[in-house]
Symmetry: C2
Amino acid sequence: MTSSTRHPAEFDPIALVIDLHERNEPQRIRDFLQEQDEVEVAHLLESLPPRERQYIWEFIPAACQADVLEELDDGVRNNLLEALPEASVIRAIREMEEAELVDLLESVPDRLAGAILKSLTEGARTAIQQRREYPEESAGRYMDTEWIAIRADVSLDVVARYLKRLDALPPHTDGLMVIDREGYYQGKLSLSSLLTGHGSKRVADVMQVDADKVGVLDLSEDWVDLFEERETESIAVVDADGKLVGRIAVDDALDIIRELADHQVMHMAGLDEDEDLFAPIIPSAKRRMFWLGINLLTAFLASSVIGLFAATLEKLVALAVLMPIVASMGGIAGSQTLTLAIRGLALGQISAANTRWLAIKEVVIAGINGVVWAVVVGLIAWLWFHDPKLAGVLAAAMIINQFAAAIAGLAVPLVLERSGIDPALSGSVILTTVTDVVGFMSFLGLATWLLL
Amino acid sequence: MTSSTRHPAEFDPIALVIDLHERNEPQRIRDFLQEQDEVEVAHLLESLPPRERQYIWEFIPAACQADVLEELDDGVRNNLLEALPEASVIRAIREMEEAELVDLLESVPDRLAGAILKSLTEGARTAIQQRREYPEESAGRYMDTEWIAIRADVSLDVVARYLKRLDALPPHTDGLMVIDREGYYQGKLSLSSLLTGHGSKRVADVMQVDADKVGVLDLSEDWVDLFEERETESIAVVDADGKLVGRIAVDDALDIIRELADHQVMHMAGLDEDEDLFAPIIPSAKRRMFWLGINLLTAFLASSVIGLFAATLEKLVALAVLMPIVASMGGIAGSQTLTLAIRGLALGQISAANTRWLAIKEVVIAGINGVVWAVVVGLIAWLWFHDPKLAGVLAAAMIINQFAAAIAGLAVPLVLERSGIDPALSGSVILTTVTDVVGFMSFLGLATWLLL
């Protein structure tokens, strides 16, 4: 092993902290954490087992604890907060941003949420409760309330002089909000126009009157793409009357995109999108137990199909040897179609108008691949069991199951989506049930009919 | 059906375009496309079958075609370009950004890339070739070369007057680049400091001297998180000597995050991360054929394990009925561990120091869930086949396979990652092989040993 000072690329903060915890060296931990910014500390906490997390938490400077909580994955944050003493939690959340605090309050146990609410000032509590009335995922939940507002009838020089009286602009300020006397949103004065426009021009002459705005109740799926499309860093949030009430910024979009991304991959494995890798064991085991239980039901369904053909299997044991191939190849092909379809639905690329073309495409692909691999599988089975009729039945079942996989891979997510059920979560269970049942049924059924 | 004008929420541009294509109404298509921005057109192209894509492409105003190409998913863009006549492609790419064009040239067929290169001016060709020398995914590939540079020794008033001579700032300008006479990067003057600082102050007094910068060869995985961490919209790119050579912006980060996100979910199904939902059928079938072939090998491996126990199966057909349950429950549990581990690796949360804790966690969870579901499965099998010894063997095999699934679910991605192989792509094939082989081997092996 080489020393970490000579090879900084191999320096592993996770190993360092675990080591310092084992040797119980609080001062060195304190010194180390002092040098890290909140993002580094958050990443470290996400990479530590529960005991080490709790241990180092108390060494994080109190002024930084709220920032670290804001950076943590939701799953990790909740597991940490539940493990900490209530007083530590209340101290840590004191400096948190309102939007983050609302999110936190909704995901921690009620008892802790109650204690946190009680610790807030009257004003903060009211603000939080107002924000909680906006639906989850709405702009009202994400928006911040820091912005610079100006009137349309002043000159750029007046705006510039006004800004000189401030210490700094709020983060992600790429423009100023133009509002009228009553607070109605009128447009955006981009910093670019402010800086390059002649000082005698009026705001009204250079502002974007058609600047994007989102309603306070609009859901994130409807506005998250705007940041990519319009090359903007902040968008005004208005109420039903058109009054300016907040501002969403590009960092919200980054968070939302990351979450959407995790959603499909985690849900397809029956996991929560913010599942904590180092979650405590017992709650993790419970959550996964449920998913295994669901899958057990479908496994028994497939078994009972096989059970129907017990008499056939008794006479021809080669069927038992070959039957998993039919089911497995169906499952693989089906999950390719399913993955594409779930992503297409998430991106809004599938509509009633193009479903027919998609269905034809998937069925033709199933036909091509079904025939190609049926021939290969059939030849191998023939060589293995010296039974051309068995090989033929296997090949035919393969083709049937490839078609079933293509149709189910497309139809299952479409039907689930239309019924308001998340296709990422339940799609693969239903699909595998279809490909197992059709695979066993077609192979053993054809064998019973043709080989006995 | 209701009319789309009365119910704008139900208006489906995909249906409209397919309908106008069928009725061959070029003027109405042209009018419709004229009203859409490049993002809307790109999304529409992504949602259309190949024939409709080609048909409407020629109606997109020539001035917008480059912008649309930049917005398209790579897979869709390549499929479209390959289907278009060469002259159309060359016309379309004329206005494309350099970084986008380099990316395009690397992914279209060589013949088309050659024709595009030949159509460029000498200067553009040289710039492209220089950029292609940077490694894929490096900052040099993503950076743009539009920025505003200033000197450190001038006053803010001078900077402000200089900006007044420009028409606009480049997109995503949240600060100006401070460089010295030789072009070395010295820091960033944020627009916030420029606008709020006193005009007589010098740039050197208010600029961020520790502003982030990335090396032109640094890979995106090393800098993409900076945009989230530092609340910044643009970062300077410097060469090995520290000279300013470009600028990466938050829209690159959004793209990269989306791609990373698609990577795991698509690769776990053996698909390309930018797989086009409406790709032409034959190439799609070929790509998926390969993946089915790989999986067929593993299916035959599982079959051959069953084949070893043909004599046992002949005597006790209940084994054939129950054996898929053991394999399936192992596969489900294993893929949960695998999904978590691949995501943890991608996020850099797994290191040598915490692997032991993770392994213990996964094995304990496997133990808990293995025992719980073994009891359930055992009881059901006992009731079904009235054979307590068979039920016991089934339960024991379930527990063994849950342990195998946990160990393989964690070890397979770790070993693949260390060997430089993408665990998202090959992890699930290997895992299923392990859970199938261990599942069949333990169940049929125990049965042969204990029941006959």
